[in-house]
């Protein structure tokens, strides 16, 4: 008996560890796409949204968003590699993941990933280079002119010399050209960012076997909620980083804070206020669009009542009611929406609202990905997802709470390192012509 149990435990098929089946489900049905596939559209959404926020300044010239725009551009660069991470963590054969880029099978929606993702990555990288080229050149020249450099400074000099890519011309005309090119790149970047995320929605929306996913609205819903989450995360991170900078400015703990022309804590506060207020307006617009589409989809399903509605109704209205209507729509959409439209909006209130918005978008991804697998293809049974919390093997780590937390933490760690060479906050604003 003991051996039998041990043998049985060793033979847990993928998905069995976190799926609880109820009534009649087909023998091979499990929740195969788990928390990492929830993280995937959530993270790509943040990338796309952060980029759209930065483009508002670069393309449409919303001058007041200048600082947060530059910040979101760098942050979206830090988020980029993380969009791939959940996919790698979820693959059963992660070492073959490269096949998707090398030998894509073009009838599959996923095969577009390599092309779209790499196009997008190169656009973001180019844009960052154009924005920061002047800074790279100036820093490199400054370091080169420095007498008796320390090892760290020599290393920094080498990195900055490499980052200039040999383009040392920072005359007025050259910089003006950079700005023009940057505007064009940002202009191309918006549709590509939307495509990057719209295609993530397409992956789900085109699965005809899944009654919940299959809707042409899916890509559009995904794009809108992507922008919502991206803008919200940028506001949140921006506020946090500004708070840290305010603290550093007061306590003079950082190198830049000890310089003579360092920004004062009050100045930082004032800048933060304007930027946050304006970005949160855009957040509201996109929230309205996202909510309208999501609710339209729900109403349409309820009204048309096709064959799958019976089981979908039970999942949406009964089993997942709390997750969908309380956590997603009420706490994640309605409450922050009211918080932001009520008069006398403050930075603090907006910041709390963005946390709730991020939670709401995460729950939306969760309800789509997990909710879509909560019912059997036979329409006569249900599957319940139990997120593995304490990992007992590699699989329950990768596709469990800690795997998801790893994915969430990575962009912030990357941002810390990227920020060393591509500082999201530059002081040379007054000099730069737009």
């Amino acid at each position: 008996m003991v051996e039998q149990v041990a043998q049985h435990a060793a033979m847990v098929v993928h998905g069995e560890a976190w799926t609880i089946k109820e009534l009649f489900t087909l023998p091979n049905e499990y929740i195969y796409w788990s928390i990492q596939i929830v993280m995937y559209p959530f993270m790509t959404g943040l990338v796309a949204g952060a980029f759209v926020l930065s483009s508002l300044y670069h393309v449409f010239g919303v001058e007041k968003l200048k600082e947060i725009a530059r910040f979101s551009l760098v942050f979206s660069f830090a988020l980029l590699p993380v969009a791939m991470m959940p996919l790698m963590l979820h693959l059963q054969q992660p070492f073959r993941g490269i096949h998707v880029l090398m030998t894509p099978h073009f009838t599959s929606a996923i095969s577009a990933f390599g092309i779209v993702f790499l196009t997008y990555a190169s656009i973001v990288a180019t844009e960052i280079w154009l924005v920061y080229r002047k800074y790279f050149v100036e820093t490199a020249q400054g370091l080169m002119a420095m007498q008796n450099r320390s090892n760290i400074d020599s290393f920094r000099m080498m990195v900055f010399q490499a980052l200039t890519l040999g383009a040392w011309d920072i005359s007025e005309e050259a910089v003006e050209k950079d700005h023009k090119a940057c505007k064009i790149m940002a202009g191309i970047g918006i549709p590509v960012a939307c495509f990057l995320h719209g295609y993530a929605g397409f992956i789900f929306g085109s699965v005809k076997a899944n009654a919940l996913w299959m809707t042409p609205l899916m890509p559009v819903i995904f794009i809108c909620s992507a922008v919502v989450s991206g803008v919200a995360l940028c506001i949140l991170t921006y506020v946090i980083v500004q708070e840290i900078r305010k603290y550093l400015a007061r306590s003079k703990m950082a190198r830049w804070a000890r310089e003579a022309d360092a920004p004062k804590a009050e100045e930082l506060e004032a800048v933060k206020h304007t930027e946050v207020m304006i970005s949160s307006n855009y957040l509201l617009y996109f929230m309205i669009a996202a909510m309208t589409l999501e609710i339209l989809d729900l109403i349409f399903r309820g009204y048309t009542q096709v064959k799958s509605w019976d089981i979908l109704r039970e999942v949406i209205m009964e089993r997942d009611f709390t997750k969908i209507f309380i956590l997603q729509y009420t706490i994640g959409n309605l409450v922050p929406f009211i918080m932001m439209i009520l008069p006398g909006r403050t930075v603090r209130r907006t910041t709390i609202a963005t946390v709730l918005v991020l939670f709401g978008v995460f729950m939306m991804r969760y309800n789509v990905v997990i909710g879509g697998q909560a019912f059997s293809l036979s329409f006569s049974g249900f599957m319940d997802y139990h997120l593995p919390i304490i990992p007992h093997d590699l699989e329950t780590f990768k596709e469990g709470l800690f795997g998801a937390l790893t994915v969430i933490a990575t962009p912030f760690i990357l941002f810390y390192f990227i920020n060393m060479f591509i500082p999201a906050f530059l002081k040379e604003e007054e000099k730069a012509p737009h």
Partner: protein, 257 residues
């Protein structure tokens, strides 16, 4: 070189290069070298004959190295029970590996439901397996082309190329696919392709004591299976997905999905 001359030469190169390329479409090696262009495998299930013994599941798991204790299977049998008070119960305990040895209905979560035999209106068994669709959703969505359809109509998986993303599992409307518990790649019914190519029956067909499962070449009008499919009333599962399944069912109830 003049611009005009350059353009002329460009056109010549393009036209010249496209001739051999178009020749390739005339002599499609796939068509020329296809070993058996006249074979298109199809499966026929006679639900009236199935008694739910589960021999097919045992034979399949043994033949294809799917561990008995793993809760997945390339083929399975479903039991449908309709009561006189208009309730419907379906189950397939362990994919019917051991047959239906318990008269109670498996409700999942370790719960079972005893049904009064006097209350049973009708009851029947439905064997299921991969439908080897003519336009399969699974091969369409594979991002690396690791799953494909052979020229004789069988959908296969290349174990050495599958990345294990699970997209095909999601795309299959029949739940025929799963992750192999040992190989960690997608697995599914192959119609026992290794046996077919030697002229043998597939394992489940061979094991069925009542001829509820049969296979034939649908391109051969004299094949007895083709005769049945052409002359009798047969149905397929979930035709609304447009996948054109190649597993045909005699006596299919509309509730079977």
């Amino acid at each position: 070189m003049e611009r005009r001359e350059f353009l002329q030469k460009c056109i010549m190169v393009v036209v010249g290069a496209s001739v051999p390329v178009s020749a390739l479409t005339f002599i499609d090696p796939k068509k020329v070298f296809a070993a058996n262009p006249d074979i298109q495998w199809a499966f026929l299930v006679d639900t009236n004959k199935c008694v739910g013994c589960g021999f097919c599941v045992k034979a399949c798991k043994t033949e294809n190295d799917i561990p008995f204790e793993a809760h997945v299977s390339r083929t399975w049998v479903e039991r449908y029970v309709y009561t006189k008070d208009d309730k419907r119960y379906v189950d397939s305990p362990q994919a019917a590996l051991h047959g239906f040895i318990d008269s109670r209905i498996d409700l999942g979560r370790g719960e079972f439901k005893e049904i009064d035999p006097k209350n049973v209106g009708k009851a029947f068994f439905v064997p299921k397996l991969c439908n080897h669709c003519s336009s399969p959703a699974c091969t369409q969505v594979c991002p690396v082309g690791a799953t494909y359809k052979t020229d004789d109509g069988v959908v296969l998986v290349d174990r050495s190329w599958c990345i294990g993303c699970g997209y095909c599992i999601m795309a299959c409307p029949y739940g025929a696919r799963f992750f192999h518990p040992v190989k960690h790649v997608v697995d599914k019914c192959t119609f026992c392709y290794h046996r077919l190519s030697k002229g043998l029956d597939s394992a489940c067909v061979n094991a069925c004591p009542f001829k509820a499962r049969r296979m034939g070449n649908i391109h051969d009008p004299n094949d007895p299976i083709t005769q049945i499919i052409m002359n009798e009333r047969v149905g397929v599962l979930k035709d609304e997905f447009g996948t054109k399944p190649q597993a045909f069912y005699i006596g299919l109830a509309q509730e079977v999905r």
